[in-house]
């Protein structure tokens, strides 16, 4: 008969399957968007590594996560941003209701330091956003982070470049984010237990407030480039929910 602590530690893991799928989707935090919650079977997984593959910076990957940052920081928990690509702009963070003293920006000098700081933050029960700017971390390194996240019940978000999709990832959840037209974020699910890979959904980020009359006077081109061909229809405006950014 297995000993009690062993059983406890097994049940604590995200990837232990229990009858009726009890443990798998229990520890989730809502994304704040009904459609995304539905896609992710409840919300962002807690105590797991989530990998967000973005085609490029600035398409709305961060505003997608602002609700969870707000949730965590208002619970007096620290949110660590490891090697962000640009400088976070404080006024917009304050607008989103995030207390600034709960944010910590960490800059690492080497991949080794990056991994150490990431693991340390996870074990310190902070909400970690990590950007792999140097080189995509190795599978074993990511596995280490995934294990640490499982033990410390902290959600971890890793932002990867599109090249990362070629390699395997130990992350529990893997999403690809791209934007086909401004303010609409297209989310492709690449990995989540219990869900077919390749499932897609679209989320709107803010309204299109174009004051064309004024812009017409500008000495620059304001014609939006042609929308690339998509293999699925774009959603009607009524279907999408809006973020306040």
């Amino acid at each position: 008969m297995p000993s009690e602590p062993l059983l406890d530690s097994l049940l604590l893991r995200q990837d232990t399957w229990r009858g009726r799928n009890r443990s798998l989707r229990k520890h989730v935090i809502t994304t704040g968007k009904e459609k995304l919650d539905k896609l992710l079977l409840g919300g962002w997984p807690v105590s797991a590594l989530t990998e967000l593959v973005t085609q490029q910076n600035g398409i709305g990957e961060l505003s997608l996560l602002l609700p969870i940052v707000k949730h965590y920081t208002n619970e007096n928990k620290l949110c660590v941003w490891l090697d962000p690509p640009y400088q976070p702009y404080a006024p917009s963070l304050v607008n989103a209701g995030i207390p600034l003293d709960k944010l910590l920006i960490v800059r690492s000098k080497s991949s080794k330091e990056w991994l150490w700081a990431a693991e340390q933050s996870i074990r310190g029960k902070a909400l970690l956003f990590a950007w792999a700017n140097r080189a995509q971390p190795r599978y074993s390194a990511l596995r280490k982070l995934q294990l640490a996240a499982t033990e410390s019940l902290a959600p971890v978000f890793l932002f990867s470049p599109p090249t990362a999709l070629k390699a395997h990832s130990p992350a529990l959840l893997r999403l690809e984010l791209e934007s086909l037209e401004p303010n609409i974020l297209s989310v492709t699910l690449h990995k989540l237990r219990g869900k077919m890979p390749g499932t897609k959904t679209q989320i709107a980020l803010g309204e299109r407030t174009t004051e064309r009359t004024l812009l017409d006077k500008l000495p620059v081109n304001i014609q939006y480039p042609k929308t690339p061909q998509t293999d699925f229809p774009l959603l009607q405006k009524d279907d999408v929910q809006y973020l306040n950014t």
Binding site: S9, N76, L78, Y86, L93, N95, K125, L147
Partner: protein, 498 residues
């Protein structure tokens, strides 16, 4: 040692402040030397010798040797003449110290106050009863754990460390004597046992004092006139009027232990036995410190030539010694070892605090709110203060001054009205110029203006700036924060909406 057949008195100790247990280890020298041997000694008289008064003399001997008449301070030649079968071993003070440290770790699980003596341990048992369901159960458990290490121990209980040592019996008692009994025994103990000089002992005799009770019956003022302050000090320590200033045992900051084998070990299978012993010691250490190890480093040293080492990284979960041994064994299989191993050492200096676990009402484990400063401290210690920063907000007009990055030591500005206009989440370190070609804006990609402008002017007291901010996007849907400077008509990209 047999269990006492007398009926065990009910524990009539109320929650008392002073209960000291002294564990004397009469055969510590023998146990220390034999513990590191791979082959157990055959049953028979054993003695430890050391250099005393320019001659090899018996330092310690076992019961069988005592039965032959071997005793302490007997010279080696005499001892061998009395008992020709005597196994003689050299004293090893270092190993004795190590063994005492290990035993202190065991004792540390029973009491938070452990003091190491030259050949024994003191434990402050006061207040430890509840955890073990009574003092008698505690003593029984302690005795079992010492026996598992094949340690011969005898014990004494008193209200001060000194009293406990003086009252040390010649067996290990499995029950706690009553307060009255302890006091009575102390009073009737002969004065020879009290630590004092030969001159003082002489004086006691002249005064007609034979027991400690006789001495304590005399008024203190009279005693202090007749004897020096040392004796008064001893008496105060004996009565527990003065706290003992002996150094309290604390587990070391890192674990380092080794086992030597002079005959040499030739195959990997035979390495496992000493490795198991070392891992058991490590687990005791980890339990005393309430932490998990992150990395184990094994070192195998041959008599000649270079040592071979291997390290095992652990995920930081709880591991028993058996799982650690199987991990080490797996790693050992791939290791090329020298022909014969003389010394095996185990080193561990990376630890992780055992996570505290709590459950909510419905039995779900919830994470504890941990103090975030601990994390900042550890990041700070490893990466340096310059690696850490946080966004700050200032009452300024220009975006690059309003939202800034500052060292974590600085305080954050107060909140203010920030307006309703859309603000980006990312700000470029400094505005990057945008190329304008054939009425098309280019920054990495062609950009299109989507909305705007928002006029921003200010900073006239330093350098007049007038900027029109626009929201732009590229063909991939990324949104940028552009501005056009009114005076120079130059376009800049200042941030990214993300």
């Amino acid at each position: 040692m047999k269990e006492p057949s007398v009926n065990i008195p009910k524990n009539n100790y109320p929650i008392d402040r002073n209960i000291w247990l002294y564990i004397n280890l009469p055969q510590l020298s023998i146990e220390a030397v034999t513990a590191t041997m791979t082959k157990p000694l055959k049953d028979g008289p054993v003695a430890i010798v050391s250099l005393q008064d320019n001659a090899q003399r018996i330092d310690c001997c076992n019961q069988q040797a005592s039965a032959w008449g071997v005793e302490q301070r007997l010279s080696l030649s005499t001892a061998l003449a009395i008992c020709p079968d005597l196994t003689v071993l050299a004293k090893n003070t270092l190993q004795e110290q190590q063994l005492l440290q290990q035993l202190a770790l065991i004792a540390y699980r029973f009491s938070p106050e452990v003091i190491i003596d030259t050949a024994g341990l003191w434990l402050d048992l006061s207040g430890c009863a509840q955890l073990f369901n009574g003092y008698n159960k505690l003593l029984k458990k302690l005795y079992t754990q010492l026996s598992e290490q094949s340690i011969v121990a005898i014990s004494g209980v008193g209200k001060s460390p000194l009293a406990a040592k003086i009252l040390c019996d010649n067996e290990f008692r499995h029950y706690l004597p009553s307060k009255l009994e302890v006091q009575r025994t102390l009073m009737t103990t002969i004065l020879d046992k009290l630590p004092s000089t030969a001159k003082q002992q002489q004086n006691f005799k002249q005064l007609g004092l034979t027991t400690i009770g006789d001495l304590l019956a005399l008024p203190r003022s009279a005693l202090s006139q007749r004897f020096n302050s040392d004796l008064m000090n001893t008496l105060q320590l004996l009565q527990g009027e003065k706290p003992s200033l002996l150094k309290r045992f604390k587990p070391a900051n890192e674990f380092h232990d080794k086992i030597q084998n002079t005959q040499g070990l030739y195959n990997k299978e035979s390495l496992l036995f000493p490795m198991k012993t070392l891992l058991q010691r490590l687990c005791q250490y980890l339990m005393a410190r309430q932490c998990y190890s992150r990395e184990l480093i094994w070192q195998f040293e041959p008599l000649l030539g270079r040592h071979q080492s291997m390290s095992i990284t652990l995920s930081g979960n709880s591991h028993g010694w058996s799982s650690l041994l199987s991990l080490s064994r797996l790693k050992l299989e791939h290791l090329e070892l020298p022909r014969s191993i003389e010394q095996i050492s185990l080193f561990c200096d990376q630890f992780m605090v055992m996570p505290e676990r709590s459950f909510d009402l419905f039995g779900d484990q919830i994470s504890l709110q941990k103090n975030t400063s601990e994390l900042i401290d550890s990041l700070n210690a490893r990466l340096g203060i310059e690696a850490l920063s946080r966004p700050t907000i200032n009452a300024e007009h220009l975006p690059e001054l309003a939202g800034n990055i500052a060292s974590i030591e600085k305080s954050i500005g107060s909140e203010q009205d920030l307006g309703q206009a859309q603000k980006p989440l990312w700000l470029l370190p400094e505005p990057a110029p945008v190329r304008l070609h054939n009425q098309q804006l280019y920054w990495r990609k062609p950009l299109t203006i989507m909305s705007g402008p928002e006029r921003l002017c200010g900073n006239w007291w330093q350098s007049e700036q007038q900027r029109d901010y626009y929201l732009a996007c590229d063909s991939k849907g990324a949104r940028y924060w552009l501005f056009r400077e009114s005076t120079s008509k130059q376009w800049f990209v200042h941030g990214l909406f993300s």
